[in-house]
Each structure stands twice: as structure tokens, then as C-alpha cells.
């Protein structure tokens, strides 16, 4: 029969709903909250108040955080600028560099699977007379370094390419990109939101000049981010995009979000200590989840390069099942889908489309974002639920039936609507 009642039992120690969408945001680590708390209450001072102890205390918290962040990414404390989050960091980096180096050139290079905070910033600059090259990606989601080589010309001032993708978790070859940029005298900015604290990322070894960082992706608070701006070899200058009191060495005015900054710093300190063991743990969970799907279901495949990938990311297409209907069946599990039906625009994920996947496969994709607080029992429960619901929905799927009967779906004159 086609009726569906779940027979999957909730394992001991698992509480529903399960959060498995850690690329969207991550829960605040209790240790981070503990570090932040005093800065809401007794240590409430303005870090810019230079003439009393309240200010000094706040400033001390901020400077400790600056060092914690710098240490995690191989920078110096003076190279860290605080912002309201990675969207602001990306805007500040790209617009600030474009403005500062306008006389040198007007060409910017990025790639098609960037976050909208980068793509839409580049689009705005196009309106102001900048020329932007959007590099394609290969079927595995990585750019071809040769494409980048060809795209750089004598007007190129900036290359902005993300370190890790938020949907498919693939790691771009930033070290090679940075090396090439340095050879050509071009600034290299990377949206490092997803990579920082997850796998090793070092601005010196990876040849990065400017990097955007977010608090809430690394078990820190929302509403705080940072921008790394290289001070030497080469020294990078950024034109401020917010005018005011000249905070953050003139690059970002506005009273500092001291509790948030302290939290971001603490989150980086924890990541520094635990990243290696956590990465191994998450890779184990992720591979377990993947193996279960592949053992129990046909027509499933991973989107994006499996080798160069964040340990906690699994993006899979359950072909012939529409993503939103799948999410509906696992409503006690928080994951996300590349399906159009889950977006306001009714367009499937542009990232998956960029891999050359058909829209139908993009519609069938689910992103599992494993994080620090997920357990093996949760993975087992999620796997069982997904397998069960995919089987149910495939009973309802005319496409699955047709494929079983040997019909070539690409030969059918579908009526797009």
C-alpha cells in the first residue's frame, strides 16, 4: 500500500527535532556563551572609551578576541577588522578594494557558485563601471585554475573566490589561486565563512590577502564577523564603506559589538583546540550517513567533489523524488534542499545548476550539514527516516516507475509550466 506511517524508532538519547543544517547556522557553544555573558552586564563599556576602566575592560576583551581569531588563521591581531557579519565583510572587502584600486584597474574575477553576498556585490559594481568575470566550475564544483590564469589581465585588481562552498562543501584550490594572484600582482579575497574552524586555513600558507569570517557558523554568536586584511607582502588597503567615528583603523566605523566579538574570539579559540579531532569525527559521521544511503537506495548521488570537501558536508540527490516532499516527510529533522519549492523564487539552486546538473536532479537534492553537537545515534535515525521516506515517495513517483520500465525520460516532450 502507499500509505506512509513511519516505523523508525527514535534511539535512546536522541531528542527531536534534530538539527543537521550547520552550514546555515550553528548553535552557540555553551563555553562561548559563558565567555560573552559578563560583557552584557558588568563589562558593558564602550571599547572606544579611552579614559575609564569600563572602556579599558571592554577594549581588553576585544583585543583578546582579535588575537584569538588571528591565531586561528595565521594572521596578526592588527590584521583583523570586526564587522556585523560575513555579508558585511564581503561587501567591505570587494567594494572597498574596488574603490581603493580604481586607478589601477576595473576588472574583478569571481566564480559562479559564490554566496550571494559576493555575487550581488559584484553585480552592483558592474553598474558602477567595473568589469566582472564569473568563472565557471567543473562538474565537481571546483574552478579550473587555467580558466583563472586566462581571465587575469592588466586591468584585474581583485580575485574573489570562496574557500569552501556553503551548499556542496567543496574546497576551492585557494593556495594555487593565491599563488597565481601574487605572481600577477592581484589581490586575493576569499569568503572563508565555511572553512574557518573546520579544516586548516592559514592566510600565509594559503596566500590569502583578505578573508571574510562569520561568528555564527563556528558555534559563535550571530551579528558578528571579521575581515582579515593583510598588512604586508602585499599591504592591502580598503576604502571604508561606513563613515563615522573611524573605528577599526578607519576601515569600519561603528561602536564595537563587544559581547559578540568576545564570543567570536572564544569560538575561534575552541576551534583551534578541537578542529582536528572534530574534523575526523564529522568525517566519520558524514561517511556513515552516505554509506547508509548508498547501501539502501538506488539512484542517489553526491553533488560536488568528495575529496576536497568540508568534513561535515553531504549534499545528495535522491533522484526521482522532489526535495521539498522529502523534507516534508522528515519534518523532525532540520536539513535543507536545493529544490525550487523551498525557495521564494521557485528557482532551483544556482550552485547545483552550475555543476551542470539538470534542474530535475537539483530539485532532488538535500544538504546535510553535520556539526559539533550531532551524534552517531542522530545520524542513524536521520538515515533511516530518509531511506524510508524516499522509498515511500518513489512509490508515488511516475518518473521512478518510468525509469524502472526502461523509458528514457529525456526523450519525453515534457510540458514546462
Amino acid at each position: 500500500m502507499s500509505s506512509y506511517t513511519s516505523t523508525v524508532e527514535v534511539p535512546a538519547g536522541v531528542t527531536l527535532p534534530i538539527y543537521m543544517d550547520n552550514h546555515a547556522t550553528s548553535p552557540l557553544d555553551p563555553r562561548v556563551l559563558e565567555a560573552m555573558m559578563p560583557y552584557f552586564t558588568s563589562k558593558f563599556g564602550n571599547a572606544a572609551s579611552r579614559n575609564h576602566s569600563f572602556g579599558w575592560e571592554a577594549e581588553k576583551g576585544v583585543e583578546t578576541a582579535r588575537e584569538q581569531i588571528a591565531k586561528l588563521i595565521g594572521a596578526t591581531a592588527k590584521e583583523i577588522i570586526f564587522t556585523s557579519g560575513a555579508t558585511e565583510s564581503n561587501n567591505l572587502a570587494i567594494k572597498g578594494i574596488a574603490e581603493m584600486y580604481r586607478e589601477r584597474g576595473n576588472h574583478i574575477i569571481t566564480q559562479v557558485t559564490e554566496h550571494k553576498a559576493v555575487l550581488d556585490t559584484c553585480k552592483r559594481l558592474e553598474k558602477y563601471g567595473y568589469r566582472v568575470t564569473y568563472l565557471p566550475v567543473k562538474a565537481d564544483g571546483l574552478i579550473d585554475i587555467e580558466d583563472l590564469k586566462r581571465a587575469i589581465d592588466d586591468k584585474t585588481i581583485l580575485v574573489t573566490i570562496m574557500a569552501a562552498n556553503n551548499e556542496i562543501g567543496v574546497l576551492q584550490p585557494i593556495r594555487e589561486i593565491g599563488k597565481l594572484c601574487h605572481e600577477k600582482g592581484v589581490i586575493f579575497h576569499t569568503d572563508a565563512v565555511q572553512i574557518v574552524g573546520k579544516v586548516p586555513f592559514n592566510v600565509v600558507a594559503d596566500n590569502v590577502d583578505v578573508a571574510s569570517i562569520s561568528g555564527h557558523k563556528i558555534y559563535g554568536p550571530k551579528g558578528v564577523g571579521a575581515l582579515y586584511v593583510r598588512r604586508r607582502n602585499p599591504r592591502v588597503q580598503i576604502a571604508a564603506q561606513i563613515d563615522g567615528g573611524g573605528h577599526e583603523r578607519g576601515m569600519r566605523s561603528g561602536t564595537l559589538n563587544v559581547p559578540g566579538i568576545v564570543g567570536l574570539g572564544k569560538a575561534c579559540e575552541i576551534a583551534m583546540q578541537e578542529m582536528d579531532s572534530e574534523a575526523a569525527y564529522l568525517r566519520g559521521l558524514r561517511d556513515r550517513l552516505k554509506a547508509k544511503f548508498e547501501a539502501e537506495l538506488d539512484y542517489v548521488h553526491v553533488n560536488g567533489n568528495m575529496e576536497h570537501r568540508l568534513p561535515g558536508n553531504l549534499n545528495m540527490s535522491f533522484v526521482y523524488v522532489e526535495g521539498e516532499s522529502l523534507l516534508m516527510g522528515i519534518n523532525d529533522v532540520a536539513v535543507s534542499s536545493g529544490s525550487a519549492c523551498t525557495s521564494a523564487t521557485l528557482e532551483p539552486s544556482y550552485v547545483l545548476k552550475a555543476l551542470g546538473l539538470g534542474d530535475d536532479v537539483a530539485h532532488s537534492s538535500i544538504r546535510f550539514g553535520l556539526g559539533r553537537f550531532n551524534t552517531q545515534a542522530e545520524v542513524d535515525y536521520v538515515a533511516a527516516k530518509v531511506i524510508e521516506i524516499v522509498k515511500h515517495l518513489r512509490q508515488l513517483s511516475p518518473l521512478y516507475e518510468m525509469v524502472q520500465e526502461g523509458i528514457d525520460l529525456s526523450k519525453i516532450a515534457w510540458t514546462a509550466h
Binding site: S2, S3, Y4, T5, Y320, V321, E322, G323, E324, S325, M328, G329, S339, A340, C341, A344, L346, P348, G358, D359, D360, H363, Q395, L396, S397, P398, L399, Y400, E401, M402, I407, L409, K411, I412, A413, W414, T415, A416, H417
Partner: protein, 145 residues
Amino acid sequence: MAYSDKVIDHYNNPRNVGQLDKSSTEVGTGLVGAPECGDVMRLQIKVNPETQVIEDAKFKTFGCGSAIASSSLATEWIKGRTVDDALAIKNTDIVKELSLPPVKIHCSVLAEDAIRAAIGDWKKKNGVAETVESTSTSAAAAQAQ
């Protein structure tokens, strides 16, 4: 997005899932939508040649919960109706019954299209003049081949 109880009920207990013999002259098949759009519905009817009453209806749908519910509901509603009565079902009736939000109205439109396509296919097979313009017979015809 929150789903109405009726959508959830059709999702968990879809009515009339399955396949009818598409080569039978009594059966009309409508295949509408496209995988690229994230919605494909196949709706089939079995029509009594004497009374023109739809005696059986089956569906399979690839799509979101609202699409599944719309087509499931459509099969429920057309069973027992005459072909002409079934054509009177409007997508807005489905929207109302399932409390579909604006962003899901296209699911109901597709279900209406599926009914029309199935009836159109049956009429074509049986030499009955087309009374209603069907937009979706090409896909059905392609599948029937």
C-alpha cells in the same frame, strides 16, 4: 512552510496511487509538468464506454507535498463523475479544499491540467470530439508510444 492538515493527510495517505493499462481504449492518460520544473503528474482514468462515468482513477506524482495532495484529491473527486462533470473541476476548488498558499497555486493548476489531459487522451482514443483545449496531450502521447 506550514502545511494544512488535508495536505499532510494526502501526503501520508495518498488516494488511488498506481497505474492503469494505458493501452486500453477505456483508459485515458494525462502526463503533465516537467522534471526540470520539479513537478510531474500522471493521472489516469478508466471510463465506462456506456455511461461515460469515470469508474477508476490512478495517479503518480513527482513533486512537493502540495502537488502530491492536489493530484491525490483530483483522483478522489473525479471518480464516479462523468467525463463532462470532471471537466468542471477548477484549480481554485483544489486550492480552497487544501488551503494552498499562493506560492503553491501552480500545483492545483497542474492537477487541473492533468484531469484535462487524461480526458483529452481518452476522447482522442475514442473519437470523441475535443470540447476542451488541452495543453498537455503531447507529453501523454509521448509516454503512450
